[in-house]
């Protein structure tokens, strides 16, 4: 009983509930709910089965992570797409957690983003962000979760950099750039994944800003691809390099690893 009370207080469970609410809104707000549901069910099943296939018996929190990755994938893939797109994106997402690792148990790439980029490279861009169904719910719901997790700097940094760079490089008005360009779902749900984004506030500002600028550049140079996702993959990959180049205070340092056990990340001041 106490477990049932405690579960919803965990950020991961709250994020799951938020994603479920967004999915329901996305499903019931349209008449093509059947293809959407098929995509979502396929990506969810593939993610959970992939988690078992790659990691064996895992604790409930790991299954919850897989469900989050699967839901994100399912809520981005276009309803008209082949179900194979959702399957491969989910499997690639979970595989990246196992195979592309710098330092156990920290994977390099945001799993859902990596999986979706793999699917874009194989099948072409079949992403339409149908899960981005309620801006209000994302800002309030995810904002509250991120506030508790001390991670609000990430979406804000991304927003500022994305809007500024779109206005400067894209030649659009700043107001339009600020209100139309940044992707709320990406900023509040994907960018903030705890294992692949920094914990310290200064690092978060650098990380988020780099994502925003890279996204604008990608959208300008390769408009048919998903600039936001490509930007996050790039910045994930560059994080260790930034650790070497940037001053220690700003570096993307990963938490200390003592006797093979990763210490808990300190909360931001």
């Amino acid at each position: 009983m106490s477990n049932l009370v405690k579960q919803p207080q965990k950020p991961k469970v709250q994020m799951l509930l938020l994603l479920a609410a967004l999915a329901l809104l996305g499903l019931f707000g349209t008449n093509d709910w059947q293809p959407r549901l098929s995509i979502l069910a396929t990506s969810l099943a593939a993610a959970v089965l992939g988690e078992w296939a790659f990691f064996g018996a895992v604790p409930a929190s790991a299954v919850q992570s897989a469900v989050i990755s699967g839901m994100i994938v399912g809520m981005l893939v276009s309803p008209g797409s082949s179900l194979a797109v959702a399957w491969s994106a989910s499997v690639a997402a979970i595989a990246s957690k196992k195979l592309l690792v710098f330092q156990e148990p920290k994977h390099i790439f945001n799993p859902a983003t990596f999986g979706l980029m793999v699917s874009v490279l194989i099948f072409g861009n079949q992403i339409n962000w149908w899960g981005n169904s309620s801006a209000v719910l994302i800002v309030i719901g995810a904002g509250a979760i991120l506030f508790r997790m001390h991670r609000l700097s990430l979406p804000f940094a991304y927003f500022a950099a994305r809007a500024l760079s779109a206005a400067l490089l894209g030649g659009v008005g700043f107001t339009r750039a600020a209100f139309l360009m940044p992707n709320l779902f990406f900023a509040f749900i994907m960018l903030v994944e705890p294992k692949t984004s920094p914990t310290k506030r200064t690092q978060q500002w650098v990380f988020g800003a780099l994502c925003g600028i890279a996204a604008t550049i990608y959208y300008r140079c390769f408009p048919t691809y998903e600039g936001d996702l490509a930007a996050l993959v790039t910045v994930n990959l560059l994080s260790p390099l930034l650790f070497l180049v940037l001053p220690k205070k700003l570096s993307m340092a990963r938490p200390a690893n003592v006797n093979g056990r990763v210490l808990e990340r300190p909360a931001n001041p």
């Binding site: 349209t30 008449n31 093509d32 293809p35 098929s38 396929t42 099943a45 593939a46 089965l49 992939g50 988690e51 078992w52 296939a53 790659f54 064996g56 018996a57 895992v58 276009s78 309803p79 008209g80 797409s81 082949s82 179900l83 194979a84 797109v85 959702a86 399957w87 499997v91 099948f123 072409g124 861009n125 079949q126 992403i127 339409n128």
Partner: protein, 175 residues
């Protein structure tokens, strides 16, 4: 059950489950491909020249008639979007006339975009929306695109807007 056995049991069930799911996904994809096309896209056209003076596609020789109906100086056309095309195709109108499209999507969310007349509309499945544009003054053929990603063949979802020369006399009110 020992921890190692449990670990292996989960791994095996995960791998078998993923394979089964992939089989199901591929089977569903094959069924979708074999399903009959939602409609016959053939439509009467004749040899015409496009805005650039190039010959249009040769089809049958039946005379072209404008699509839809003419009501109160507006050409009203029921225009359907589906994976991966538009109906009627071509959409036939007279040069310079006001056109009201009642756009419907038969399956997933689509967009209809006619760059020549700066027309763009997004339409969700099974809904019908009305939007108007003024047909180009120059007779010819103009492309219609889907502006919302709607599936793997989205890039090939194209229609045609065929603009006929204006008639000297006003058309009858109900064709």
């Amino acid at each position: 059950m020992s921890t190692e056995k449990k670990y292996m049991a989960f791994r095996v069930s995960g791998i078998v489950g993923l394979a089964a799911l992939l089989g199901l996904v591929l089977w569903a994809g094959q069924r979708r491909q074999l399903a009959p096309h939602p409609l016959d896209q053939s439509a009467p056209t004749e040899l015409e020249r496009d805005a650039g003076g190039n010959a249009l596609k040769e089809h049958d020789t039946s005379p072209l008639t404008p699509s839809g109906r003419f009501e109160n100086d507006v050409r009203v056309v029921d225009y359907d979007a589906f994976q991966y095309g538009f109906e009627p195709d071509p959409l036939v109108v007279r040069a310079g006339e006001r056109v009201r499209l009642l756009v419907k999507s038969r399956d997933v969310t689509h967009g209809a975009m006619i760059p020549e007349v700066d027309f763009s509309i997004e339409i969700s499945a099974d809904n019908r929306k009305a939007a108007e544009f003024i047909a180009p003054a120059k007779p010819g053929e103009y492309p219609v695109f889907c502006s919302v990603f709607c599936g793997p063949d989205h890039g090939n979802m194209k229609g045609r807007l065929l603009v006929l020369p204006p008639v000297g006399d006003r058309e009858p009110q109900h064709e």
